[in-house]
Amino acid sequence: MPSEGRLPAEMAPGGVTAGTARVDQPTVAGSVPATEQDREAHLDHLFRHWTLSPVMHQLRRLLGAYQENKP
């Protein structure tokens, strides 16, 4: 996997373990986070390993707009 633009885990915001979501812990079903704060937190977590190159920044914007517009 390309390493361009990627932070070593220990340099990621909060370090390796901060913000790690256990993948076997289901949450409330069927919807994206309800509040803008929740959406931003989710995106922060998803992109936590990256310094945002232009393409990843645009991807994050796209996903933020998608989540904001979901009913």
Binding site: M1, V16, V23, D24, G30, L46, V55, L63, Y66
Partner: protein
């Protein structure tokens, strides 16, 4: 049993072949294809026949009107498309449902696969590429991970533990623990199971679309779909990270950001149909589990 790269091919011997019925039907020359004969051959395997009819009736695969019989499906689809339907049905039948002992979220995995499939299909429609092939490639892009879960549970359990302990992308965990990733596994199994060449290539290279071997529109489409759906919270690919998106892959197929927005809407609309395809049931939206 530990898997190391030099023994991957021999280790994969434990993965079964697809049913002989599939090989026989897919090998049928187009000029010799007869829908009634194809249906007759398929009926010898009642489980596969039932599954194939369900796949054939998925509106995402292009049948304009649902059909109730195999012969009608075979006639409506023609040789090549019926072969694809049977292959997809047979592949999906290989994998166990239910909760894995090592905690892998199989239901979430297949929902992620469904989401990647419908987004790949939506992008293919925008770009003038084959939407059926894109759907199949997206559905099966992580075939190797399903294989690891089903036939190498001890090794896969070690991968999952590593991933969680080190908070890495699951592909990096696979490489660290096994010496190879799900793409290597998936491409070998896809070849053995006779999946179309473009689908095999997408399975093999969707995380390295800029490699010369990955230079194909479908590979680029599946790469983008896999990355993007992780932010759509549709299913569980096995981790809660997002891989790097290749801008060159997007440029390869002429995909820009304005084209992605309607594709996401289309994918949203088609998602539950794709879930029905891979899980033979539709989960009520209220019960769908997402990553936190």
């Amino acid at each position: 049993m530990s898997l190391v790269l030099h023994s991957l091919d021999s280790a994969l011997a434990r993965v079964p072949e697809l049913p002989a019925t599939v090989r026989r039907l897919v090998a049928m020359p187009a000029e010799a294809y007869r829908a009634d004969v194809a249906a007759w051959v398929l009926r010898k395997d009642s489980g596969l026949a039932q599954s194939a009819l369900r796949v054939a009736n998925c509106p995402l695969l292009g049948l304009l009107q649902p059909v109730s019989g195999l012969a009608d499906a075979a006639a409506a689809l023609g040789a090549a498309r019926f072969g694809r339907v049977i292959t997809v049905a047979a592949v999906l039948q290989q994998f166990p449902a239910g909760r894995a002992a090592h905690g892998f979220d199989r239901s979430g995995f297949w929902r992620h696969s469904a989401a990647a499939g419908v987004l790949a299909r939506a992008m293919a429609l925008e770009l003038g590429e084959d939407p059926e092939l894109a759907l199949i490639a997206g559905l099966l892009h992580d075939l190797g991970r399903a294989v690891l879960d089903a036939w190498f549970p001890r090794e896969f359990s070690a991968v999952l533990r590593y991933r969680e302990r080190h908070d890495v992308w699951i592909g990096d965990a696979e490489a660290a623990v096994l010496g190879f990733d799900h793409c290597s596994v998936g491409s070998r199994v896809a070849e053995r199971w006779g999946l179309p060449g473009e689908v095999r290539q997408a399975i093999a290279w969707h995380h390295r679309p800029e490699a010369p071997e990955g230079d194909h529109p479908l590979t680029a489409i599946v790469h983008v779909a896999d990355v993007v759906v992780r932010g759509m919270r549709r299913g569980n690919p096995g981790d809660d990270t997002i891989p790097m998106l290749s801008e060159r892959a997007m440029a390869r197929v002429g995909l820009d950001w304005t084209m992605l927005e309607p594709a996401l809407d289309t994918a949203d609309r088609d998602f539950h149909e794709a879930v029905r395809l891979v899980q033979d049931e539709e989960l009520p939206a209220a019960q769908e589990q997402v990553l936190s």
